[in-house]
């Protein structure tokens, strides 16, 4: 039995062949290093993220998260629910908070859940994986497995929106959270100081429906990373990672920029610093290759 056990909510985009499968891969790697075991919630469903609202009303969306929590309550009664995806964490935690605060909503939700043979009890804590790292392991603990410090790499810690607002990580400010910078330092790399777009929005799901407007936002995020002298951007959020990474060519075409900056998950960064292979760090999942990390991973 591992030292730290959690009821894990992987989320749709972490599935095999999906957009953040590389996050899951590298997360599993660091879990091995940190003696963390993630136990999947059996038969979990989509949280509907933030964008499901057009079709799904308040109650159906709450019911989706309530179902996941109820399943976790059954399968892992003593474990906190943990998510790696910002949207999954946010939707689940919001649902949990609101159902616990609002007895009317709770009654209606449970009435709906009954149709699927489930009940929401509401005694779970919903946590982000980063919270696990900071609160349960701690920066000291996170430093221990570092065998290949990421020396000489300057990284823009892009926190984005939903791992930051409205709940925040570790009680930090919404306007300038520092946990990602601290993590970068813990791994031996150098954070970009005063990264101006640290908590700016990448457009989220509107990258599909409003590509021009969203790409304008991403352009600023990348530009400001370059301004800070960054070699790469690191982020905890699957949507941020994707939006910042894969549209660079389109942005270059539109704005005449020459962007080509890797955007990686913190878990990839940690895997490399922990001395794991490029495969384990999911570096092969990069659309824009993180050469500097590949080089370190290749070193024996």
């Amino acid at each position: 039995m591992a030292k730290h056990n959690y009821s894990f909510y992987p989320g749709c985009s972490s599935q095999k062949g999906a957009s953040s499968s590389n996050q899951l891969r590298s997360t599993q790697t660091i879990c091995e290093e940190l003696d963390i075991q993630l136990n999947d919630i059996p038969d979990w469903n989509c949280c509907s993220a933030s964008i499901g609202y057009a079709g799904g009303g308040e109650l159906p969306r709450l019911a989706l998260s309530a179902r996941n929590i109820a399943l976790s309550e059954q399968a892992h009664p003593d474990q906190d629910i943990v998510a790696t995806c910002a949207a999954c964490w946010l939707a689940t935690r919001e649902a949990n908070d609101r159902l616990n605060e609002n007895s009317g909503l709770l009654a209606n939700t449970n009435e709906a859940l009954k149709a699927g043979g489930l009940t929401f009890k509401g005694n779970k804590k919903i946590r982000h994986f980063v919270e696990i790292l900071i609160e349960d392991i701690g920066y000291e603990g996170l430093k221990k497995p570092v065998t290949k410090p990421l020396e000489g790499i300057k990284i823009a810690g892009y926190v984005g929106c939903q791992t930051n607002r409205p709940f925040g990580i570790d009680g930090e400010s919404f306007e300038n959270p520092l946990y990602l910078d601290k993590l970068i330092e813990t791994l031996g790399a150098e954070p970009v100081e005063n990264y101006e777009k640290k908590v700016s929005c990448c457009g989220g799901a509107l990258m599909f429906s409003e590509p021009e407007k969203s790409q304008a936002l991403v352009k600023d995020i990348i530009e400001s990373a370059y301004d800070g002298g960054a070699d790469m951007i690191v982020t905890p959020c699957p949507v941020c990672q994707l939006n910042v990474e894969v549209y660079q060519e389109q942005i270059n075409k539109k704005y005449g920029t020459k962007f080509n900056i890797p955007s990686v998950y913190y878990s990839t960064l940690m895997s490399v610093a922990y001395g794991r292979s490029a495969q384990d760090a999911a570096l092969n999942g990069q659309v824009i290759r993180a050469i500097k990390l590949e080089e370190i991973a290749a070193k024996s």
């Binding site: 057009a54 709906a112 894969v246 389109q250």
Partner: protein
């Protein structure tokens, strides 16, 4: 029928829109509008929507494209001095407008969000490939091909990095108990419908 600067529409919003009971608490400082990443693209920023609701402008609010500009970044929530759950109210207004059939036709975010919901509520999980293709092809085959070509490089990159699985189109992921899930969603929808019907008398 809603009269100007009377409370009818506000009461409707309070009853039927997610977190709608907060609307009257807005003190018109405008911090939300100034904090929105797509602020300049809103026909009416949140602050204005709240005032329009209080001014009884039912059609103008519900037919507006404004709420569909929300990226769910939660900046407005984090900064609102009155602690209004603005993001949720925007989602709630958008949903209510769509539900009443008042939301603007051809609103891209609406269409995407609708497809997202349809996609997930069918199997319980989102199939990214089907979602993307259904969105790109929603305006017909030729438009879809054009859009896909535009996005070809993006897709190729994702494919090469094994983050887009072409075999997903044949089925892919889903909940085992999708029947149970659908029953839950159906029941939840019924409860909401009953509530709205009751308000409308």
């Amino acid at each position: 029928m809603s009269e100007q600067y009377r409370n009818n529409f506000l009461r409707e919003v309070e009853a039927n829109v997610e977190e709608g009971e907060w609307v009257k608490r807005c003190m018109q400082c405008g911090v939300c509008s100034g904090s929105c990443p797509l602020g300049p693209h809103w026909e009416h920023p949140p602050q204005e929507l709240f005032m329009m609701i209080r001014a009884g402008k039912r059609d103008e609010v519900l037919k507006s494209s404004s709420m569909w500009m929300c990226t769910s970044c939660y900046n407005c929530i984090a900064r609102c001095p009155r602690e209004l759950p603005i993001t949720h109210i925007m989602h709630g207004l958008a949903h209510y407008a769509e539900r009443l059939g008042l939301a603007p036709k051809n609103q891209q975010t609406n269409k995407f969000a609708q497809r997202f919901w349809n996609n997930l509520s069918k199997t319980g999980r989102v199939n990214e490939l089907k979602l993307t293709l259904s969105f790109y092809f929603m305006n017909g085959f030729m438009a879809g091909v054009k859009m896909s070509l535009n996005m070809q490089k993006v897709g190729l990159g994702m494919l090469l990095s094994k983050r887009l699985n072409p075999f997903e189109i044949l089925g892919g992921h889903g909940c085992k108990d999708s029947k149970g899930l659908q029953a839950i969603l159906k029941k939840a929808r019924e409860i909401e419908d009953a509530k709205i019907a009751k308000f409308q008398g």
